[in-house]
């Protein structure tokens, strides 16, 4: 497609502005992590590596990262299994109440986090009599992580139809062989996309976590919030933020590369 020169310039400027709005604040955080000011003042009065050293020695920060990774990995794993199973049930089988269940599965992602948080808090403590712990956070996160896996997998199943599975059965493959050799490879990129999204959702979730975390369970977002306005801690928070940005680039890059060739096929 050919565009006129003014059109190209205009579109270029708009693109630059939007990307600027997204990425300039991130750069500010990056600069702040080297600032000598402890109160995030702008412009930074001077530069130092002090906070980077402190951040990597801060037991609280490292614990929080570990807790968040644990919660995100386990709730993503639960979501991958349950989300895939429910997608198959709703897409490949017809049964009473199918539409209702489809709605109920998607609902948690639309519910305000604060409602989910209060509801689960009540449910765990007063009805079930379960003390809040890291596992109550995992279960709470899994409720909305399932949705991203479910959405990705069911969309793939819907688009794909049953032709390939019929072809596999026709050629002599049983149900499990068909799943292993045909269905699962077709779902792989959908599972990866859904899984990454689920991981990201869980990793930075704060509202539901606040209501369902037991004492002593500090995920990274909670740690950041607690330390943000504490004297001398703000630059450490900036360091953590920069590390998180760098770390999150890696899976996104991998996901893009993996889904690249598949996109070309379509």
């Amino acid at each position: 497609m050919r565009l006129s020169r003014p059109a190209r310039v205009t579109l270029g400027v708009i693109t630059a502005i939007i990307l600027g709005v997204v990425y300039v604040p991130l750069l500010v955080v990056l600069v702040n992590s080297f600032s000598t000011s402890t109160a995030l003042t702008w412009p930074p009065p001077g530069f130092t590596l002090e906070w980077w050293g402190k951040a990597f020695q801060s037991a609280g920060a490292l614990d929080a990262v570990l807790t968040s990774v644990q919660v995100a990995v386990i709730s993503t794993a639960i979501a991958l299994v349950l989300g895939t199973l429910i997608s198959f049930a709703l897409q490949r089988f017809d049964f009473f109440g199918r539409e209702a269940i489809s709605l109920l599965v998607i609902l948690p992602i639309a519910l305000p986090g604060i409602i989910t948080g209060i509801a689960l808090n009540n449910f765990f403590r007063t009805i079930m009599g379960v003390p809040l712990s890291i596992w109550t956070v995992v279960i709470a996160h899994a409720t909305f992580c399932i949705v991203t896996v479910f959405n990705n997998v069911i969309a793939r199943l819907r688009r794909q139809g049953t032709n390939l599975e019929e072809a596999s059965a026709d050629l002599g493959a049983g149900v499990w062989t068909t799943f292993r050799l045909v269905t699962f490879p077709q779902l792989r990129s959908a599972l990866l996309a859904g899984g990454l999204l689920a991981f990201a959702l869980s990793f930075d979730e704060i509202i539901v976590t606040t209501f369902t975390a037991g004492s002593g369970v500090t995920t990274l977002p909670i740690f950041i919030l607690n330390n943000m306005f504490r004297p001398n801690q703000a630059p450490i928070v900036s360091v953590i933020a920069v590390v998180l940005v760098l770390v999150s680039i890696i899976p996104i890059y991998i996901a893009q590369r993996l889904s690249g060739p598949a996109d070309q096929k379509r």
Binding site: N163, E166, A167, A169, D170, L171, G172, P185
Partner: protein, 358 residues
């Protein structure tokens, strides 16, 4: 496996989807080694019969026998039939060779043997160079041949083909028709071919079953169906026909009932033709259509019937300027086919189907 058994025997086969009866008490025997076509408009039940034979659908009633063995309740992977799908259904994440070897792989045949056999199957469809490619890198015609190799490498007793040429352009389709016929002769296995293209069915088949409304309307060789259509529907669907209803038959043929005459059996001339067994009727030329190899002439007979005649493109041809000319349309009595009276309930539908083809 004995040769005296039919390859496929369907008995009272019925399939209902909710309130819709897609297949309605079909009885059918298909002989071993036969090239058999199921022909019909979309929604006529032909594809459902194929899917029932493959095992993708369970019949509501009736049985399916494969060489005398009842396979009605068996899963698709437990039946010695294979399918070439309309959209080919090649596995996109596997190479062409892996696709062809798939049926051998799931049967537990070792890597070396299955690679060898898959290569041989690819060679038989002239694609030995394409083994390492992905299906997405092949053309439509090549994919079609891969699907054929994949289905035949496991040596099924019966091969089912669901409109396999539907997605190809005309030239490629004609070329593939010849190849299919050759492959079927080479393998010597039974082919059951589903199509809505009457010309394709006539070209390829030993026998054809014409489907409509979930039932077989007529079963016979291509010549049987073309020369002796048994009903108004078959006369209209297999080739084109001039239909004479009861009143016109009385007026033009001197007897009641419905009759059909193929366009190429009608002659158009300026003078009334006379001869033994030749009848003719006067009319006015409405349209002259140049077809290349022939000319289609539409004439309104004075008896109140519009007929189409097909003439060879020779020197006596009429021109477009001949519209409005007074002519005589003549035919041999022997070429007039009496049709079985149509059941009144579906007569309207059949007339529609006939009209849309004509």
């Amino acid at each position: 496996m004995t040769d005296s058994q039919p390859a496929i025997r369907l008995t009272g086969l019925t399939k209902e989807f909710g309130a819709v009866t897609a297949v309605d008490h079909v009885d059918l025997e298909i002989a071993a080694g036969e090239f058999f076509s199921m022909l019909g408009p979309s929604g006529s039940g032909k594809t459902t019969v194929l899917r029932l034979i493959a095992g993708f659908e369970q019949p509501t009633a009736g049985t399916i026998e494969l060489f005398g063995e009842d396979v009605t309740r068996r899963a698709p992977f437990d039946r010695d039939v294979n399918t070439v799908f309309q959209d080919y259904a090649l596995f996109p994440h596997m190479s062409v060779l892996e696709n062809v070897a798939y049926g051998l792989r799931v049967r537990g045949i070792g890597r070396r043997e299955r690679t060898q056999r898959a290569r041989a199957a690819l060679a038989s469809v002239r694609l030995e160079q394409m083994g390492d490619r992905k299906p997405s890198q092949l053309s439509g015609g090549q994919r079609q041949r891969v699907a054929l190799a994949r289905a035949t490498v496991v040596q099924p007793k019966v091969l089912l083909l669901d409109e396999p040429l539907g997605a190809l352009d005309l030239k490629l389709r004609e070329q593939m028709q010849v190849e299919l016929k050759q492959i079927q002769r080479d393998l010597g296995i039974t082919f059951i071919f589903v199509t809505h293209d009457q010309e394709e069915a006539l070209t390829l088949s030993d026998r054809i079953a014409v489907f409509n409304d979930g039932r077989i309307q007529q079963l016979g060789t291509p010549a049987d169906l073309y020369e002796q259509p048994g009903s108004r529907f078959v006369a209209g669907f297999v080739g084109t026909s001039n239909l004479f209803d009861d009143a016109r038959s009385q007026a033009l043929l001197g007897r009641g009932g419905e009759h059909s005459v193929r366009p190429e059996k009608l002659a158009v001339s300026a003078e009334r033709e006379v001869g033994d067994g030749v009848a003719s009727a006067p009319g006015t030329v409405v349209e002259v259509i140049y077809l290349g190899s022939g000319i289609r002439i539409v004439v309104d007979l004075d008896a109140g019937l519009r007929v189409t005649a097909l003439a060879q493109n020779d020197r006596r041809r009429l021109r477009a300027g001949d519209r409005g000319d007074r002519v005589f349309v003549s035919w041999h009595e022997a070429d007039v086919v009496a049709l079985a009276p149509a059941p009144p309930a579906v007569a309207g539908e059949e007339a529609d189907a006939a009209a849309s083809v004509a």
